[in-house]
């Protein structure tokens, strides 16, 4: 049986709600957890150990990155070493029982974002399997009065290969660009259909591509858009060295040259579909939007958290070329691209583009009326991904050597 709206509001207002956050060591999950702590809630993270670190050590590293280690709110954080893809979350029976009784709301952020088909098994395990286990936990908790809300972090890209307008409603498609989209799609359907039968309310949040903080550029994930930029800078450095130290033999072979103004010319044509966009949102906007929706949508619904002004690839290339004194990178349509022989740089960059093409050259348009109403009410707007924001993000990436210094 569902809990009443009034009870939800009351528990939240009194900060009595205990939130279980999955994916708490991930980019979105950690930001949500830190924000919850800041708002005065108690937070439980179920994390697996990894890379030679215990779950607690992994979380401690993140708290240091968020610069909140030792702060009073951290005392409300509990870290449990567990495995959400295993029955009972891999916990001892008593621990599991205690957890089910303690948790009021679950925010499910854990996901595997790998695209390759060869990783299907692990992506399915990460993106589908935990839902059954979390449902079992939530259902058990619900019977004792807890676990009344499940917040599912999905993705705008459950739309798969659909084109045109994609609504904030349960998607109905069977064609996907990759296993990530597919598993997230089926995960949504599972959540939407199964959880309410146990009296659990469900909100589904569908962000587009999330980058660093709009003001500081801070992030600890340097994937997606960061990769081609990092590669361009790496190659610029390689050819600059060749030109300065080895008479530019390799640069000449590739058609790379140093311009009079000191810019490095990299002859790279990127194949791009006309009329396509990239939908980018900063993490701070996502967090604001998420909490606004969480607080406003008490019956459960589906929301796109996207930018109303997606960018064109050319705009981002222009930012990069200007900021880093690079020339020569340009987009062309398929026909033009095929008219000239490709060089090694183009093969490399178009390989990146191929993987991220559904997102860097997007022809889907994500409607966000429902989210828009809430954001308008809260006076929240999505910052534009302009040159300054681009610069801040890359500046931070360089400061931390693309995460190596973190």
């Amino acid at each position: 049986m569902k809990i009443s709206r009034r009870e939800i509001l009351k528990k939240r207002e009194n900060k009595e709600s205990v939130f279980l956050v999955t994916g708490g060591t991930g980019f979105i999950g950690s930001h949500i957890a830190v924000e919850l702590l800041g708002k005065g809630y108690a937070v439980v993270l179920v994390c697996r150990p990894g890379k030679g670190l215990s779950a607690r050590e992994r979380v401690d590293r993140l708290l240091a990155w968020f610069q909140i280690s030792g702060r009073p709110e951290v005392s409300r954080l509990e870290v449990i070493e567990g495995f959400i893809d295993r029955p009972g979350l891999g916990l001892a029976a008593r621990e599991y029982e205690r957890l089910s009784e303690r948790v009021d709301e679950i925010i499910h952020c854990a996901a595997n974002t790998a695209f390759p088909e060869k990783k299907r098994k692990e992506v399915e395990t990460a993106n589908i399997k935990p839902l059954e286990n979390l449902l079992a936990l939530a259902a058990r908790g619900r019977r004792k009065g807890g676990s009344y809300f499940f917040h599912h972090i999905s993705t705008a890209y459950v739309a798969g290969k659909r084109t045109g307008i994609c609504r904030e409603e349960l998607m109905n498609t069977h064609e996907f660009h990759n296993v990530y989209e597919e598993t997230k799609y089926y995960a949504e359907r599972y959540v939407w259909e199964k959880y309410p039968t146990e009296g659990i309310r469900v909100n589904i949040y569908r962000p587009s591509i999330v980058y660093g903080h709009s003001e500081t550029g801070r992030t600890f994930r340097f994937n997606a858009l960061y990769f081609p930029i990092k590669t361009a800078l790496f190659l610029k450095r390689v050819y600059e060295t060749d030109i300065k130290e080895n008479q530019g033999k390799k640069a000449r072979q590739m058609g790379v040259r140093m311009e009079n103004d000191g810019a490095v010319y990299l002859p790279i044509r990127l194949e791009r579909k006309p009329g396509s966009f990239i939908n980018l949102i900063p993490i701070d906007f996502f967090i604001d939007a998420f909490f606004a929706i969480m607080e406003e949508s008490l019956e459960g619904d589906i929301f796109h958290i996207v930018s109303p002004a997606p960018k064109r690839l050319e705009e981002i290339i222009a930012y990069g070329q200007e900021v880093f004194k690079i020339k020569g990178i340009r987009t062309v349509d398929k026909e033009s691209f095929e008219q000239e022989p490709v060089n090694g740089l183009e093969i490399l960059f178009n390989s990146y583009l191929e993987i991220y093409r559904p997102y860097l050259g997007d022809t889907r348009w994500f409607a966000s009326e429902k989210t828009g109403v809430i954001l308008k009410k809260r006076n929240i707007t999505c910052p534009d991904f302009d040159k300054d924001r681009f610069s801040r993000c890359i500046k931070y990436a360089l400061e931390v050597d693309w995460g190596r210094k973190l």
Partner: protein, 614 residues
């Protein structure tokens, strides 16, 4: 005083005998070359130091001589680092210091008395070539094979001719002394030890090339490397095993097989005739009508027919357009099918389906780099297998027409000389998102990418030299400046890189012949080998596979890696050997085309048709 560090190094000598061949052009250990006994080579000095550290021998007159003949020239350090990453020079120095301190303290030096047998042996071979001093004996007493027990011989003899071998055998028979023949002082499968007498054939190294008959007439002390080098001077090639292995001993043992067996065959395909000294001490010639029929094969095993004192090895033509290519594969099944296709179509001379354990180990000058390279090939490039083909222009063109991505000699050279940067963090990280549906090796094999890789990796002897310790850097730079070090034809002919497979630990190879037209069976066998190794927590990996006889059969090797000084690992390896033998034996009962090494032992002179098609 025994140095712990030196003793630890000494304990790890794998007995691969690479210090007994001049495979890097550094020259040989001068003392070893002059005195022939293993004890005078770095391998022997390592064993001597180990023996002193474990109180197995006293300080003897011979030990003092051995210690004093070492000039600390450092050749051993360069040779051994190249193969195993061990630094034996510390042991050489420690041995000298130990003996010097012993003498300085006026502690006793044992003089070992001779006996009648030794006197007779010395009459045959000369005083310098027969010994009973423990400092000589102990270096012939053990090997790293997990089923062997240490056996200290009473005598070690270095015969110089077939006549001397014959006389030694007769002396042994008259005195009821057991004997064994030890080729290059090396043994890795435990068959060449005796509590009686050990013959070391190190003095019988003569090679005569009979160009008109395409033959090399060789003595029993001729190593594979020496034979290939000599054949190469005449534009010819033999089918040989590892470079330090002795050719006659190899034929005696299991017959010669290599990746060239695809074209050159195995067993009796490799020789035209051989001379022996039989167990009665009398000589016989294999082509004599009355000689034992060594061309036949006894499926239940056979004893050694005698001592091979001369063999006439077949040589094969080479062409100036030979070159190597590596064809990457993401699955064993596809790679095996390709190998069979090449064998059946008679494309290529040498063919080997290699796993990344071999590929990465062979091309990396250090274990650390090998480990990174393996991960890079497996995970980043998505090529856990590569089919190595040596062939002429026509062979390579035929393979190109098969539309498979190819790592040609030029790209191979680039990858080897740029290896430290290829697998380094930054470049490797950048490639991470490209590990998508298409395997990344396909991208690397595109012609257009070559120039980009060249710019990024800056392949050069200096770049690969950065991977080794600073004091060896200049040596490695000079070494990798030689074209041979990145020439797949030369590397595959001499096999100087293959001993690197024992760099991590000693290798215990399980090998034999399998039906190549049954790839599912082969895959199942590999899976079983792995399962058994994993169960006993012994590092293991797929080795290689080479088609034989037009792709009808193949040679398969699967490897286990053990610390041969660790009793627990030895015990576990013994169990593995028993289980794998059982597994293969059961398969042999119900499947044609499986013939394992244990049944082939001592029958390497057989016709391949006698054991491949039973």
């Amino acid at each position: 005083m025994i140095s712990k560090e030196a003793a630890a190094i000494a304990s790890q000598c794998r007995h691969y005998a690479m210090c007994k061949i001049d495979f890097l052009g550094t020259g040989l250990c001068p003392a070893g070359e002059a005195h022939h006994y293993v004890s005078y080579y770095p391998q022997g000095r390592m064993d001597l130091y180990y023996a002193l550290a474990h109180d197995l021998i006293p300080v003897t007159e011979e030990l003092v001589r051995i210690a004093h003949t070492c000039t600390l020239c450092g050749i051993c350090d360069r040779q051994c680092h190249f193969v195993t990453e061990l630094r034996p020079l510390k042991v050489m120095r420690a041995l000298k210091e130990y003996v010097d301190a012993h003498l300085k303290e006026n502690r006793p030096v044992v003089k070992v008395d001779g006996d009648e047998v030794l006197k007779r042996l010395r009459t045959v071979v000369g005083d310098d070539h027969a010994a009973n001093d423990p400092a000589i004996l102990v270096t012939y007493a053990d090997d790293p094979f997990p089923l062997t027990q240490m056996k200290m011989p009473r005598y070690v003899v270095l015969p110089g001719s077939q006549k001397e071998v014959s006389d030694i055998v007769k002396i042994c028979n008259q005195n009821n002394i057991d004997y064994a023949v030890r080729g290059n002082g090396s043994s890795v499968i435990g068959m060449v030890m005796s509590e009686g007498l050990v013959m070391d054939m190190n003095r019988m190294k003569e090679i005569t090339i009979d160009r008109s008959n395409w033959l090399a007439e060789i003595g029993p002390g001729v190593s594979a490397f020496a034979l290939q080098t000599e054949a190469g001077k005449h534009g010819l090639r033999a089918n040989t095993a590892e470079p330090s292995a002795l050719v006659c001993a190899n034929i005696m043992c299991s017959g010669i097989f290599s990746t060239f067996s695809n074209a050159y065959g195995t067993g009796a395909d490799n020789y035209t005739n051989a001379e022996f000294v039989g167990h009665d001490g009398e000589g016989f010639n294999l082509n004599d009508k009355n000689a034992p029929n060594l061309f036949a094969f006894e499926k239940n095993g056979a004893p050694l027919p005698g001592i091979c004192t001369r063999a006439f090895i077949r040589l094969h033509p080479t062409t100036p357009d030979e070159s190597g290519i590596l064809v990457p594969y993401s699955t064993f099944a596809e790679a095996a099918a390709f190998c069979r296709e090449l064998g059946a179509r008679r494309i290529g001379i040498s063919i080997a389906l290699l796993g990344t354990e071999y590929i990465s180990t062979f091309i990396s000058p250090t274990a650390e780099l090998a480990s990174k390279a393996k991960k890079f090939f497996n995970e980043t490039l998505g090529m856990p297998y590569g089919v190595l083909v040596i062939g002429d222009t026509y062979a390579r063109e035929a393979i190109k027409k098969m539309s498979v991505p190819i790592i040609d000699e030029r790209l191979f050279r680039l990858l080897v000389l740029g290896l430290p940067r290829l697998v380094a963090g930054e470049w490797s990280d950048l490639l991470e998102p490209l590990q998508g549906e298409e395997h990344l090796y396909k991208l690397f094999c595109k012609d257009e990418i070559y120039s980009l890789l060249e710019a990024v990796l800056t392949p050069s002897p200096q770049t690969i030299g950065d991977a080794v310790p600073g004091d060896l850097r200049d040596f490695y730079i000079q070494l990798y400046s030689r074209p041979g070090m990145t020439d797949l034809v030369w590397l595959n002919t001499t096999r100087i890189l293959s001993s690197r497979m024992g760099r991590f630990k000693h290798v215990v190879a399980s090998l034999g012949y399998v039906p190549l037209d049954n790839p599912d069976l082969i895959a199942a066998m590999i899976s079983q080998f792995k399962h058994i190794g994993d169960r006993y927590d012994i590092k293991n990996d797929y080795g290689f596979m080479t088609p034989v006889d037009l792709g009808k059969r193949a040679i398969l090797e699967y490897d286990y890696y053990i610390n041969h000084r660790d009793p627990s690992e030895i015990q576990r390896m013994q169990k593995i050997l028993a289980e794998t033998a059982g597994m293969v034996g059961a398969l042999q009962q119900k499947t044609k085309g499986i013939q394992w090494i244990n049944t082939i032992l001592n029958q390497g002179f057989s016709r391949k048709e006698s054991f491949l098609y039973m």
